[in-house]
Amino acid sequence: MIYGDKSLGVIVQNITGRQGMFHTELMNAYARDLGGRGVVAGVAPGKGGREVHGVPVYNTVKEALREHDATRSVVFVPGGAAGDSIMEAAHAGITLAVVITEHIPVHDAMKAIAYARLHDCTVIGPNCPGLLSPGECKLGIMPAHLATRGNVGVVSRSGTLTYEVVDELTRAGIGQSTVVGIGGDPVIGQTFVDVLARFEDDPLTKAVVVIGEVGGNLEEEGVRSTDLPVVTYIAGVSAPPEKRMGHAGAIIEGGEGDARSKVRRLAALGIPVASRPSEIPGLIREVL
């Protein structure tokens, strides 16, 4: 497992929102089953003193951390205010912020990630499903029932496509060490390079599935940086240029970042590339 274990306390920012409430309960149900600490406090400005599913709510991150021992935050704060919330968390002493929020302006993301780094806070996301170490801890919104503990790491720019791959792996009897969704935005806190470096230091992880998509060239950068056996899948080989395919970062710009050339370059590095998700378990077996 990487990025955390069940002993670490978690806060949820915007815990009183629909998503925040719902996933606080799911994260805590997961933690309860494993004897983990889960979400110990929530933050919602102006709503301090309330409770959400038994979790106390505070006006600021600083107040929450004064009363509770926590180092992780899951951020559900909506777009325009999310950048500020990331900085607030970093400033107050959170060392890992998992940002679920979609539609954060890119300039806010750049500033918040740079500011968090100055305060030794790692940011995962934005626009991501978070992470799940099966049997250990869950930070975010991934459906835990699809995953099973094992020694394959999964890192992906996507949400539901990740669940699809995790489901395929589990059905094939291949368990996962940690599943990380790094987010679908052009600017994200942890890229493939960062997550793969964590997987290298993780004794549980023996191989990694890298799930990429159109836009940028971060997949190749990541795969080049690691010595772990890697299997890749790139979504969007049929995506037209200059069209945003759902994710803010999934766009072929100026002839760069198309899936076919990504696949070609990965294959040239000797990396197995699945042409559809259902091929991934077979390819993983070959490299394990």
């Binding site: 719902f22 777009g79 325009g80 954060i104 302006p105 890119v106 300039h107 993301a109 750049m110 500033k111 990630i113 740079a114 500011y115 100055l118 919104i141 991934m142 459906p143 835990a144 699809l146 992906s156 996507s158 949400g159 539901t160 496509l161 990740t162 669940y163 699809e164 489901d167 679908g184 052009p186 600017v187 994200i188 806190g189 890229t191 799930i211 998509e213 159109v214 836009g215 940028g216 060239n217 971060l218 950068e221 979504a235 969007g236 080989v237 049929s238 995506a239 037209p240 945003r244 395919m245 759902g246 994710h247 803010a248 970062g249 999934a250 100026g254 042409s275 559809r276 998700p277 259902s278």
Partner: protein, 357 residues
């Protein structure tokens, strides 16, 4: 969203970046009213959103005598298939040297990157090696002098304030890209001869932009329902949840030699109403003969999705693959109404291929 040249130049001008004197015209005759007082040469530039506009015939030169006729010629043209409705008429600059400068979001470093080249103009794409690049912390308001020196190399120092103003535009206008190609020196000083500005779609509201012009009418309609939607030209409609899974479904259609008609991501927690709108929207495209619905996730309620599909009641065949809560109820509902629900996305796409021509 991409701004047109004249819109970008207006913003540049507000930030103190010198731009050529000019005016926007919507009819050839209007050119006569906007000739330079000195009687000098003019340049007429089609305001169309295409790359390589100059090479495609979108920029013409004229003088006081020929301006109206040249404008007429330009208004009659199509530039890469786009009709010319607006033309920017500008005084022609006495260019001494052309440079290239752009500021973009660098995904790898997660910070702004400033690019500069000593040779600007139309050939910049093929001269990538001569481009210098510096990364600037997004926490700084200006490009620090040491980085500016590295960026400019031997280029004139009076470019620096203009590049810093461009950096301010980039920051304050939520730009994904702010580009000047060429940035020119003239006996009268430095000018932005061209201007390109792309605004972050996630910041349009705070930039006071109400309508994203880059989207088609159907795409905008989809956005109102909270869908991400892209039109393609095939026969198999696609509805998925999550961008990655939906893209992957399109790829699978191509893998089995089919052609997808669209990309539609319904987003998280799709309920009956949203699914119904999605199915109707995709079915409204004339070429669609079959629709693949591929939904996966912990919180998607399969019975809700099934009700949405049934309520939509569209003519094209709908083939469903979904996994989530209340799967058995969803399957039963769909079965009662004659819809097929399949176990895997491979199976769903193969079934769609049997229906699609």
């Amino acid at each position: 969203m991409k701004l047109l040249e004249y819109e970008a130049k207006q913003i540049f001008s507000e930030y103190g970046i010198p731009v050529p004197k000019g005016a926007l015209i919507r009819a050839p005759e209007e050119a006569a009213a906007h000739l330079p007082e000195t009687g000098g040469a003019v340049v007429l530039k089609a305001q169309v959103d295409v790359g390589g506009r100059g090479k495609a015939g979108g920029v013409l030169f004229a003088d006081a005598k020929t301006a109206v006729d040249t404008a007429r010629e330009l208004f009659a043209r199509e530039i890469k298939g786009i009709p010319v409705r607006e033309v920017l008429i500008e005084e022609r600059l006495a260019i001494e040297h052309e440079y290239y400068v752009s500021i973009a979001v660098d995904r790898s470093s997660r910070q702004p990157a400033v690019l500069f080249a000593d040779a600007g103009g139309v050939e910049i794409e093929s001269a990538a090696s001569a481009v210098r690049k510096v990364i600037v912390s997004p926490l700084l308001r200006d490009i620090p002098p040491f980085l500016m020196r590295e960026l400019l190399g031997g280029a004139p120092k009076d470019l620096a304030p203009v590049i810093n103003r461009l950096y301010r535009v980039f920051q304050e206008k939520d730009a994904m890209l702010a580009e000047v190609n060429p940035l020119v020196t003239t006996p009268q000083g430095v000018y932005a001869a061209d201007a390109k500005l792309i605004v972050d779609d996630n910041a349009l509201a705070r930039q006071g932009i109400a309508v994203n012009r880059d989207l088609s009418e159907r795409e905008r309609e989809a956005e109102k329902h909270g869908f991400s939607y892209v039109e393609l030209d095939g026969t198999i409609g696609v509805i998925g949840n999550g961008a990655g899974l939906t893209m992957s479904t399109l790829d699978l259609i191509e893998y089995y030699r089919g052609r997808a008609a669209n990309f539609l991501d319904v987003g998280g927690g799709a309920d009956q109403e949203r699914v119904m709108h999605a199915v109707r929207l995709v079915a409204s495209m004339p070429d669609v003969s079959v629709i693949v619905v591929n939904l996966l996730g912990g919180i998607t309620r399969c019975d809700e999705v099934a009700k949405g599909i049934i309520a939509a009641g569209v003519a094209p065949t709908v083939i469903v693959r979904m996994a989530g809560t209340n799967e058995a109820e969803g399957r039963q509902l769909l079965g009662e109404h004659g819809y097929r629900m399949l176990e895997s996305m491979d199976a769903a796409v193969r079934a769609a291929m049997e229906v699609a021509p």
